[in-house]
Amino acid sequence: MRSNERNRGFTLIEVLVALTITGMALGGLFAVIGGSKRLAWRAEDALIRTAQVRGLINQAQLDDTQGELPPAFELDGLDLEAGIEFDDPADRTMQGTTQKLRGYVLRNASGDVVTSGSYWVELDLPE
């Protein structure tokens, strides 16, 4: 009787449990690989976005420093707006102030803030 029980093989439940555990382990492995792939996509987008934003801000800074200039390029769905208002720098007697901060906010097509910050603008332009 006992020897019969020993040799009867696996039951359906046991096989199912083993298969489920194997499946979960494999699934977890693939999910991790897929996740790092998504991370790579996001990193690529972030890198390109950094360079694009840099170009836009340079252009806005140039526009503020040198006066109106024909825009070199535009980015679809990205809009640079005025940000925080900074106070005008206090007058100094010894050496005049030459620069002031200007805030900006960058919004995407759906109006969400992509990034914000500030840049320096020349106050007295060379003749």
């Binding site: 040799n7 693939f30 690529e44 170009g55 340079n58 006066g67 390029f73």
Partner: protein, 220 residues
């Protein structure tokens, strides 16, 4: 007698050939499926990491060029034939030579940069800038590939008057005796089939005037 019967009982007789074949076939099938899946995933991941590396290179090149252009310097040299002093900044749509206060090697002093875009990609030559025109030393150098597979296009912002500015396709420092107030650089992939947006950057040049030499504004 009893022992013999037990050893011949159907329970402990081992596997039949058919069972073995079936089990091995199933195992081979499962292993094959698994390795095919892993192969596909690894391949995919390698493509992805190559793409990430490319993007990283491209962004770094753009930001490095932007930095070099912002720090462009109104370097002047004496033309030995005419004995006149000229500002060095020569550019057209696909190439640009200028002198900058920054260099990739962080060497002190001024560095001459020559960027050239050809059928292979974007090439760079670097040389220290001395009192003569950097053109002479550029000719002796082999260009090194800065960004293969991309075409660079340059435009130069001219200030005709404080209210009037214009993007030009070429800049002759020897004639205009100044630097543009900004450079617009566009990187587009040479492979037209790539679905990739061009990368634009505008670099303002603060030191666009030489201390002594008067700029010459070209006529329209």
């Amino acid at each position: 007698m009893k022992r013999v019967a037990s050893s011949h009982s159907p329970r402990s007789r081992g596997f039949t050939l058919l069972e073995m074949l079936l089990a091995m076939a199933l195992t081979a099938l499962l292993l094959g499926m698994l390795s095919a899946g892993v192969y596909a995933v690894v391949n995919d991941w390698r493509d992805e990491s190559v793409g990430l590396d490319d993007t990283l290179d491209r962004t770094l090149v753009v930001l490095q060029l932007e930095r070099a252009l912002i720090a462009a310097f109104p370097h002047s040299y004496v033309d030995p034939e005419r004995l006149s002093r000229h500002v060095y900044f020569e550019g057209d749509e696909s190439s640009l030579s200028f002198v900058s206060a920054v260099s990739p090697q962080r060497s002190t002093g001024l560095t001459g940069w020559r960027l050239e875009s050809d059928a292979e990609g974007l090439n760079l030559r670097l040389t220290p800038a001395f009192a003569d025109s950097p053109d002479v030393r550029f000719e002796e150098l082999e260009p090194s590939a800065l960004l293969p597979g991309y075409r660079a296009t340059f435009r130069y912002l001219l200030q005709r008057s404080p209210d009037e500015k214009e993007w030009l396709d070429e800049w002759r420092g020897a004639e205009q005796q100044s630097l543009p107030i900004a450079v617009h650089l566009v990187l587009t992939p040479l492979d037209e089939t790539l679905d990739e947006a061009p990368l634009d950057i505008v670099a303002p040049i603060r030191a666009w005037r030489h201390a002594e030499i008067e700029p010459v504004v070209p006529v329209n």
